[in-house]
Structures are given as C-alpha cells and as structure tokens.
C-alpha cells in the first residue's frame, strides 16, 4: 500500500515534469560529509560481478570482496564501531550517475583514476595499484610481455580498454584479438585462440583463482591505480576518506585485507598491489 500511494503520487508528478522538465533547476547539493556524520551511515556503490573486488555470494546474498571490506573498515574508521554501511550494486553505467544524484555517497568499485574522470568526480589517493598484466596457461613459455613480441603471437583483450593500445606499444609484433567481455576473452584463451590474455592484474587474478591451470605472469607493465570517488565538490568527504585510508595503511589493516584477498592468488604479486 505504501508503494502504491508513492507510485500514484510520483505518476502525477512525472506527467507534469515531463513537459515542464526542461526548465527545472537542480537542487542544491547537500554536504555529504555532514549528512553521513549525522546519520552514521555511509552508502557505498560497489561492484557485484567482479571476483575479488565485489562479487555477489549467491548462497548468502551478500556482496563480498576487497572493495567491500575496504568500504566497511573505512566507514568504521570514520564514524566508529556502530556506524552503518549500506552497499548499493552499481555497474559501469550507473556508478557515476548515482554519485551525481546522491543515491550513493561514494564509489569503491575497481575504478581506475583517469584524467577524464577527474573532471567530473573527486578521487581519493590510490588504494590499489592495478596495472596491466598477462594471464597464461601454467605450462606456457610466455613469462612476460616481451616474450609476446614475436610474429605469430596472439594476445586476447577486451574491446574499448586501454589494454589493446598497450599491447601494441609493448609487443608491436603480436596480434591482438578483441572481445566484448572478460568471459569471452578467457573462453578464447581456453580454446587456444591465443597465447595470453591481457587486462588489469586484479581482474586476471580473479579469473586465475577460479580456474586452476592458469596463472598471472610478468608483473604489471602499466599503472592503473584504483581510487575511491565522491561527487565533484564534496572535498570535505574526500579528505575524511583519505585520512581514514592513511590510518588503515598505518595500522596494518590495509595489508591484512590485501593478503586476505590477493595473498593466495597464483603468480599475483600481493605486496606490489598494495599502495603505500
């Protein structure tokens, strides 16, 4: 019933807005630092489909991963033990709009800090030193990106990522096959369509942890630092997150989390992934 009343109300509002829409003005952005401090609740946008960072556990219905644990510990660091954490599932498409319209307070979702994104959101200091790396079968002769720089080598990558351009740069003689998502690229690796798959090390580590017989090799040959994002102008909130992040790094909690999620992944340099 509550929903029903809300919907009818919204419906009538929507009809009016549809025609007056263009002339509406934006509501003033609230101060998120103040709001979250009062309610002792931080709403984080996280991924639900990326292994090791944020992945829905089908059994429990909870989202689990490094990003999720970071969100929880950061919130406790900022507002004390009884502070509440709300997790909202986001996708590449929804995370920035949700941040802009204040449905979520901050995003921690395997998001690379880029100059373009800096124009529209505020980024924290890097919290994960992602970088492009290689995934190969365990018996492969490929040990690093230079081994791929031969005629006849085929590298599998995902369309529209920086990975494609980077392979052309670091191994100009190799051919790159582009796929639409990580699943397809990995399926191609399994069926022998290429010698290696290349993208961010964290994502490759997630695939390796789930598929015995494959490992991450060669370390990172590019830097793709992940950052926490808040809406442009929420500098007070950003400062608070940065400070909490410093404290986590100082008291060893951060290292523990890195070890917990990345320590046992074969061929993955967990120490190198930590940002200090």
């Amino acid at each position: 019933m509550k929903n029903l009343r809300k919907v009818t109300l919204l419906f009538s509002a929507l009809l009016m807005i549809f025609f007056l829409g263009a002339c509406g003005k934006k509501d003033k952005a609230a101060n998120i630092a103040q709001r979250t401090e009062q309610t002792k609740t931080v709403t984080w946008g996280v991924k639900a489909d990326t292994r090791l960072f944020g992945l829905m556990n089908i059994k429990t219905g909870q989202i689990e991963g490094f990003d999720v644990d970071m969100a929880k510990t950061l919130t406790k660091k900022m507002y004390g033990k009884d502070a509440k954490v709300k997790l909202v599932q986001t996708t590449a498409k929804t995370k920035i709009p949700l941040l802009k319209n204040q449905n979520i307070d901050a995003v921690i979702a395997a998001m690379t800090i880029t100059p373009e994104r800096r124009k529209i959101v505020e980024f924290s200091q890097p919290y994960f030193a992602a970088g492009q790396s290689l995934l190969v079968p365990e018996n492969s002769t490929v040990k690093n990106v230079h081994d791929l720089n031969k005629k006849g080598m085929v590298v599998l990558a995902v369309k529209g990522t920086t990975a494609v351009a980077n392979i052309h740069k670091f191994a100009p003689k190799a051919k790159v096959l582009e796929f639409d998502d990580y699943g397809q690229a990995f399926t191609a690796l399994k069926s022998g369509q290429g010698q290696a798959m290349s993208t961010d090390n964290g994502i490759l580590a997630g695939i390796a942890s789930e598929n015995p017989g494959y490992q991450v090799v060669g370390g990172n040959f590019t830097n793709e630092p992940y950052g926490i994002a808040v809406d442009k102008g929420q500098t007070q909130m950003m400062k608070r997150i940065d400070k909490a992040l410093d404290e986590l790094k100082a008291d060893g909690t951060y290292d523990k989390l890195i070890q917990k999620w990345f320590g046992n992944v074969k061929g993955f340099d967990a120490k190198g992934a930590g940002e200090r």
Partner: protein, 217 residues
C-alpha cells in the same frame, strides 16, 4: 552435461527464483496500477470532455510513441536532476506504469468505440443516465472486446520488466547475469533457464487469455 548440472545447483536456482519473484512483483503492481489509470484515461479520451480529453490524448500519443527504455532512463537518471530520487524498484514501477497506462488507454478507447452506438442510444432512451449506461451497458461489452489486446499488453509488460536490469533492478535477467559473472561457463545454461522461465510465465498468461475469450467472447 556436467556444466549444466553445476549451473542448475539448488543455490543458483534459488537465486534465479528470487529474481523471478521481483519480476513478478514489479509486473503485478504495474499491471494493476496501469490498468486502473489506463481505464480512466481511456474513458476520458473517449467521452470528449472539452480541453481535458484533447490534452490527455496528446499526452498519451507522446508517451505511446516513445521507447520504454527511454522512459526508464528518464525516470531513474533524469528525475534526480529535479530532486526526485528513487530506488530502482520504484523507478521501474513508475516508468512501467507511465508507459503501460498510455498503451492501455488506447486499447480501452478503441474497445469502447467498437461497441455499436445504438447500444448507448437504446440505454439512454430506456431511462438510464449517461454514466449508468456507460457503467452497466457499454463498459461490460467493451471489456469483452478488449480482453485479447489487454492480455497481450500485460504479457509485453512482463517481458519489458527485463529492461530494468540496466538500472540494476534485481530481477530475473540481472540475477542470471550475476550468476554467470561467477563462472562464465554458466552463461548458456543461465540464458536457457531464464528464457524458459519467462516463457512459462507469459505462456500461462496467454492461456488465461484464451480461456477468458472463450467464456466471454
């Protein structure tokens, strides 16, 4: 075959059923609300109240001729710009109700129009008021004629809930995507299973429609 067995583990199936439940929930709420609103709008459009009917008609024509996906985007990503924030659930229901009411209003209007004019005249001359005639004589007949297009519109609505996966509504398609993001080999079994689930729901609806048609048609 073992991939299929693993993919259809009870835990995964339960997760899919949770998604199906959200799909059904959103569908039922949207069907009920849009049917009521569509009925009212359709009648307003039919009876020709000065200005009001024309305005309603124009609005219906606009909404009917836009893609539902655009209305969903507008509701979820656009309205917050005006300070109207909502959950994916509320946004999905709102967008579906707006779009489907307009579609249903058109069905209602043509249903009423299909009732011969003589019926109204006859009812009025035997002493009924306009409203009484509308309610007791015209509408029951019009509703009979409307059953097939109404139900196929309801079926469309159930299928259209899948579009809300883009605003992260935890419905059937989204839950399937979450499952195969855990293990990409589940992709084929998952699409197969949700296709079956949607099919069963929609096909049952169309069987109900056929039943109703036989009984009242």
């Amino acid at each position: 075959m073992s991939t299929f067995e693993q993919a259809y583990s009870w835990i995964n199936l339960r997760f899919l059923l949770e998604g199906l439940w959200v799909t059904l929930e959103v569908s039922v709420i949207s069907i009920v609300l849009s049917f009521i609103i569509g009925l009212v709008l359709g009648v307003i459009r039919y009876v020709k109240i000065k200005y009001l009917s024309a305005a309603v008609g124009f609005l219906i024509d606009i909404i009917r001729n836009l893609p539902l996906l655009l209305i969903i985007f507008f509701t979820y990503f656009g309205l917050p710009e005006l300070g109207l924030r909502m959950t994916p659930m509320l946004a999905a229901v709102t967008a579906l109700v707006v779009f489907e009411s307009a579609m249903l209003a058109e069905i209602v209007r043509s249903g009423i129009q299909a009732v011969p004019v003589g019926q109204m005249e006859g009812a009025r001359s035997s002493g009924l008021t306009y409203v009484q005639a509308m309610w007791h004589i015209i509408m029951p007949q019009a509703l009979q004629k409307m059953i097939p297009p109404l139900v196929s519109q309801f079926i469309s609505l159930v299928k259209d809930t899948s579009l809300a996966t883009i605003i992260v509504l935890p419905e059937l398609l989204y839950h399937a995507q979450i499952i195969y993001s855990q293990n990409t080999t589940y992709m084929v079994p998952m699409y197969l299973m949700i296709a079956v689930m949607y099919f069963v729901v929609c096909y049952c609806l169309s069987l109900v429609a056929r039943r109703l048609e036989k009984r009242y048609g």
